[in-house]
């Protein structure tokens, strides 16, 4: 009897009669339930990516080659990768730094109780306010006719554009990216700061450690994997970003996603397979930083029991 009940609950409609020798079928059709998901992921996520990766190692006629990868090391493409990496590094570094201090202020700063939920909710919205509207917002703020630009010019007589600032430049893009990088940092580092136990700082204080010694020998070593992990996540986050940069600078700032966008639109590199290599390079960079992030996060979890 038990076997019939078993067969019934495992989903088979053709349960063998109790007397017959038991066959395997009871579970044989269960795998059908996950086929749609894997088929979908294969067709629209993994397949297209693998196709591009293979394409990066092929000539247009299909033969194996490393010319495309070597072709990435030309001045034009290297310049694009270099500026992309610089913008991502700068926005991730400043985002991590500022985000850390804001998170620390709301977690351990002793501020009124309503501040923390307010900041966290706003960070949730701001980290999702990206893409083209963000570029518009910064054009209205720091563009040539932006509110802050005009305010500084009319009130203090400081023209930031004659001083060399340009929103459509490296620093302009970095400042704009910080608008979603800082909130993201606040959101992902807050739990880690919560894990920083009060007992640790009290214990070190009792043992005669200064504030600085506590941070150097207890706080930062515990938080280091989290901070570094968040930094990598922010890096990957801005590396793949395109819409903000595209709306802000058009094609005047030659970052990798914009070069790839132009390549897809009009084969500006005059070699389709070089475009695959460009995409391959992007996957390698975001992939590496994400893998490192996951590894560091696993390390950071140890302190959070």
């Amino acid at each position: 009897m038990a076997s019939i009940v078993d067969a019934g609950t495992t989903g088979s409609r053709t349960a063998p009669a109790a007397g017959q020798p038991r066959r395997r079928p009871p579970r044989s059709l269960a795998w059908l339930g996950i086929v749609p998901f894997f088929a979908f992921a294969l067709l629209f996520l993994i397949g297209p990516t693998v196709y591009l990766i293979f394409g990066a190692f092929q000539t247009p006629s299909g033969a194996l080659t490393f010319d495309n990868i070597i072709g990435l090391f030309t001045p034009q493409i290297m310049a694009a990768y270099s500026i992309s990496i610089q913008v991502s590094l700068a926005s991730a570094a400043f985002g991590a730094l500022v985000g850390f201090f804001i998170a620390y202020a709301i977690v351990h700063g002793g501020l009124p109780g309503a501040i923390r939920p307010t900041v966290v909710t706003f960070a949730g919205v701001a980290s999702n306010f990206a893409g083209i509207p963000l570029a518009f917002a910064f054009l209205a703020t720091l563009g040539r006719l932006g509110l802050v630009t005009l305010f500084l010019k009319d009130t203090f007589g400081i023209n930031i554009y004659t001083l060399g600032f340009n929103l459509l430049s490296f620093w302009g893009l970095t400042i704009t990216y910080l608008y979603f990088q800082i909130p993201l940092m606040v959101l992902i580092i807050t739990p880690a700061l919560d894990g920083l136990k009060k007992e640790w700082s009290e214990a070190s204080e009792i043992l005669g450690a200064s504030r600085w010694q506590y941070w150097r020998m207890v706080g930062l070593p515990v938080l280091a994997p989290s901070i570094l992990g968040c930094f990598l996540l922010l890096f990957a986050n801005s590396f793949g970003a395109i819409a903000t940069a595209y709306a802000l600078t058009g094609s005047s700032l030659n970052i990798v996603p914009i070069l790839l966008y132009a390549q897809i639109r009009g084969d500006v590199l005059y070699n389709p397979n070089l475009g695959y290599a460009l995409a391959f390079g992007m996957i390698v960079i975001t992939g590496c930083s994400n893998v490192l992030y996951l590894w560091l996060r696993a390390r950071a979890e140890r302190w959070r029991q």
Binding site: T9, G11, A30, G33, I34, P36, F37, F40, A41, F44, L45, P48, T49, Y51, L52, G55, F101, I102, Y104, A105, G109, L111, V120, A123, G124, V125, A126, S127, N128, F129, G131, I132, P133, L134, F136, A137, F138, L139, A140, T141, G146, V148, L178, Y179, F180, P183, L184, L187, F239, G240, A243, Y246, A247, G250, P257, L260, Y261, G275, Y276, A279
Partner: protein
Amino acid sequence: MTNSRLVPFAIVAVGALYFFLPLVATFEFSLSMLRGIWSFEAYRVVFDDPRFRETFVFSVVAALATIVLGALLVVPTAYWVRLKFPRLRPLVEFITLLPLVIPPIVLVFGYLRLYNSSSFLPFTGSALGTNILLVFGYVILSLPYMFRAVDTGMAAIDIRTLTEAAESLGARRPTILFKVILPNVRAAVLSGAFLTFAIVIGEFVLASLLNRPAFGPYLALMGANRAYEPAALAVIAFAVTWACMALLQVVGSQAPGRSRSGRSLFKLGRRAAR
């Protein structure tokens, strides 16, 4: 005491300034279309533009289709994997996180090469096919949020007991899935849905490269050609994002035992849309 609070307070105040200034500036800019006075002229122009309405409706429909398709794909899979293939869960979770690793522009590049009009699945051969491909792409972009939301939702209810109880009452699979499991994870599906909506509504890269008349490419076009309308559009887009996040909070706080799931989803951010 006051001195030790002064520094954190100053940090938060400066941060608030950095985050509110662009919003204030954008709003001010959007009101100053008519010389010398503040008016809602830019908004009037935007709302009167038939292309605004067409592209906005297109993106709303695409977002709703994405949510329905995404839920239909994710809910049964998350349920079935938890019930029958718990050992496959890490693999499924890994796949759903891949869209955060693979930049959307790379993904759509693959689509254009793999599904062109001379391929085995010529999606881009027709307008309808391209629309379908666009929605499929959006489902992929929303997978990390949708799966995480639904999977945390499933973790909070005892699906095994619910399934057995329904089975002993004679319910069949579709009945169990749609009448027992789905209502129990409805809050989770909804919070995934609001994030998906926020992602899809202003998405630019996929829509632009697949050449669809969506809201994102329209925003880019306006940004390149107009002065004041983009600011009005940015305010509208920000309002939509706020609405989605507010609804997410409301839904998240109502879900039993899942008060933090909405917030942890925030962390993922709207990376796909960039």
